[in-house]
């Protein structure tokens, strides 16, 4: 498209200044200025205070739990999310639409509700927890409980990311692979999996990012013992309740920087994917 054509089109549609103005003003007031407060606070406290608060033993234990549990849960969701997405895209069966609708439940169900529901199930008085207790396994009020909650929260991210990619997969390469004598399983691992790998990575990153910052569904089932089962967002709240704004801001700073790194990574994956498709 030539710039002359574009230029004329600009002149025709009204409301550019107004809509962009509202967008930038609102974005700044609600998101950018408030977010910058976290960094300003940490910066004004000085490096020493920041480092002491951000990397105290208790904070590091909390990051390890939040990010570790998020990584395990995202990995589990990659396996089962791929299976669910595959079944939804490839097969037609009774109840398929129902299954598809249910996948979004974690998006729609308030996290606090998910939290108390999972706790009711996995506590040793609950349906699942009771059965596990007989086998000597405890999940609720342990780090494993955090993983369970994050598996619940993260599933739709992986399924919804994979579905369109699986649907767009051309049957030609699969046919070629089968014609050349590969088994169905070989075709899956050598042809299909490499093609959907970027989408799988995106799904993992989305589920991981959401899980690392998750609060509502986790605190009821986690146990919340400092150094053991205390997630990073809870530590922020604890610091705030003690009016330790600097400590809270420092931990928030670390979490934000990691989230931004994941966001950059996601953009990179998208960029890489679009280049591969061309």
């Amino acid at each position: 498209m030539s710039s002359a054509v574009l230029g004329r089109r600009h002149a025709q549609l009204p409301g550019f200044g107004l809509s962009l103005g509202i967008t930038i003003l609102w974005l700044s007031l609600i998101v950018l200025i408030p977010l910058s407060a976290v960094f300003m606070r940490s910066a004004s406290d000085g490096l020493g205070t920041f480092a002491r608060a951000a990397f105290s033993e208790r904070a590091v234990a909390a990051y390890r739990l939040s990010f570790g549990a998020a990584a395990i849960a995202a990995a589990v969701n990659c396996v089962f999310g791929l299976l669910v997405a595959w079944v939804l895209v490839r097969y037609r069966f009774v109840g398929r639409k129902m299954l598809s609708a249910v996948i979004d439940l974690p998006f729609a169900l308030p996290t606090a509700v998910a939290g108390i529901a999972l706790t009711a199930l996995y506590a040793d008085t609950g349906l699942i927890g009771g059965a596990l207790a007989k086998a000597g396994v405890a999940i609720a009020y342990k780090p494993a409980g955090v993983v369970v909650a994050l598996i619940f929260i993260g599933l739709p991210f992986v399924v919804r990311t994979l579905e369109p990619v699986l649907a767009d997969l051309s049957s030609e390469t699969e046919e070629a692979s089968l014609t050349l004598g590969a088994t169905r399983l070989q075709t899956f691992f050598r042809v299909i999996l490499p093609t959907i790998a970027p989408a799988l990575a995106t799904g993992f990153a989305l589920a991981f990012a959401r899980g690392a910052g998750e609060y509502g569904s986790v605190i009821f089932i986690a146990g919340n013992m400092p150094f053991k089962s205390e997630i990073a967002p809870l530590l922020i709240i604890t610091q705030l309740e003690e009016y330790d704004y600097s400590g809270a801001a420092a931990i928030a700073c670390v979490m934000l920087l990691i989230s931004f790194a994941i966001l950059l990574l996601l953009n990179q994956i998208e960029h890489w994917q679009s280049r591969r498709l061309v």
Binding site: T23, L27, I30, V38, A101, V102, A112, P233, A252, L263
Partner: protein, 278 residues
């Protein structure tokens, strides 16, 4: 297509579908069932009593007020942002889109924290607000701000891909035929995006009413005053008043189910118009 070869044997297919359905039932439906069973464990009378307790009623009312303020504001913003980004070409468009999505990668707790750092007792504007008798934190404005931050991207990210796909030809035609800018938006653009808009508003509202982490930080947890429904669920749960906690949670579950139902209905009926989501 050599369809026969591309399909797994029926047995394999049945096993895959079975495992996927069982996994989703176990991970997602079981918690849903747990909420409803716990809520009605002691019968309808206690459920109704828990719902109509003064603090519960206040929490329900507050939840609706917060959503009634934040959802329309974010809808107006979302339309403005989508108009600017999808109908015009300008530098920094990709960056702007990324910034709009930013709240999705921020932990809910951090989303609340930013407003405490700004408006809390020891925050930037705290002393000034205090001197002038304005309450933001531990009051309605704080709840609205935190909710708006968290639900900020919902409408915009639904509309941007949709309106980009629709292009600007129809609007240009309307303007050429003598319509005003407002008429063009009202008669041409809005009918084209109405289902996408509805979809975005629906998800935005579900999140606004169910938000927990962000509002938890700014609310102060004053029962009957600053507790929204999810916060009241937590308060009741921590009192070991499980019947009441799950009763209130069952209302939020109903909200989630209605949201999912409407969302699925929109997806089935207006697939084409929603297809542009990413």
């Amino acid at each position: 297509m050599a369809a026969g070869k591309l399909r797994e044997p029926t047995a394999v297919k049945a096993v895959l579908i079975g495992v996927a359905v069982a996994y989703v039932a176990f991970m997602l439906l079981l918690p849903l069932g747990a909420v409803l069973t716990e809520a009605f464990r002691r019968g309808w009378a206690l459920w109704a009593a828990a719902i109509s307790a003064p603090d519960s009623r206040a929490a329900i009312k507050l939840t609706f007020i917060v959503a009634a303020i934040s959802v329309p504001l974010n809808t107006v913003f979302g339309i403005a942002a989508a108009w600017a980004i999808s109908k015009f070409d300008f530098r920094g468009k990709t960056a702007l889109t990324t910034l709009i999505d930013l709240p999705f990668s921020v932990s809910p707790v951090v989303s609340g924290l930013v407003f405490v750092l700004l408006f809390g007792a020891a925050g930037w504007f705290g002393p000034w607000l205090d001197a002038n008798g304005i309450r933001i934190i531990f009051a309605l404005p704080g709840l609205v701000l935190a909710t708006m931050f968290v639900t900020f991207p919902f409408v915009a990210r639904q509309l941007i891909p949709l309106m980009t796909l629709q292009g600007r030809a129809e609007e240009e035609a309307a303007l050429t035929l003598g319509a005003s800018g407002f008429q063009t938006f009202w008669r041409v653009t809005l009918p084209n995006i109405r289902f996408g808009l509805l979809y975005g508003v629906l998800l935005c509202n579900a999140r606004a009413m169910g938000e927990f982490g962000a509002v938890s930080v700014v609310s102060g947890h004053i029962r009957g005053e600053t507790n929204t429904m999810p916060l009241q669920v937590e308060a009741l749960y921590n009192d070991y008043d499980f019947v009441a906690a799950f009763a209130l949670a069952s209302l939020l579950t109903l909200l989630a189910l209605v949201t999912l139902g409407l969302k699925s209905a929109l997806e089935w009926r207006h697939r084409d118009e929603l297809a542009a989501r990413h």
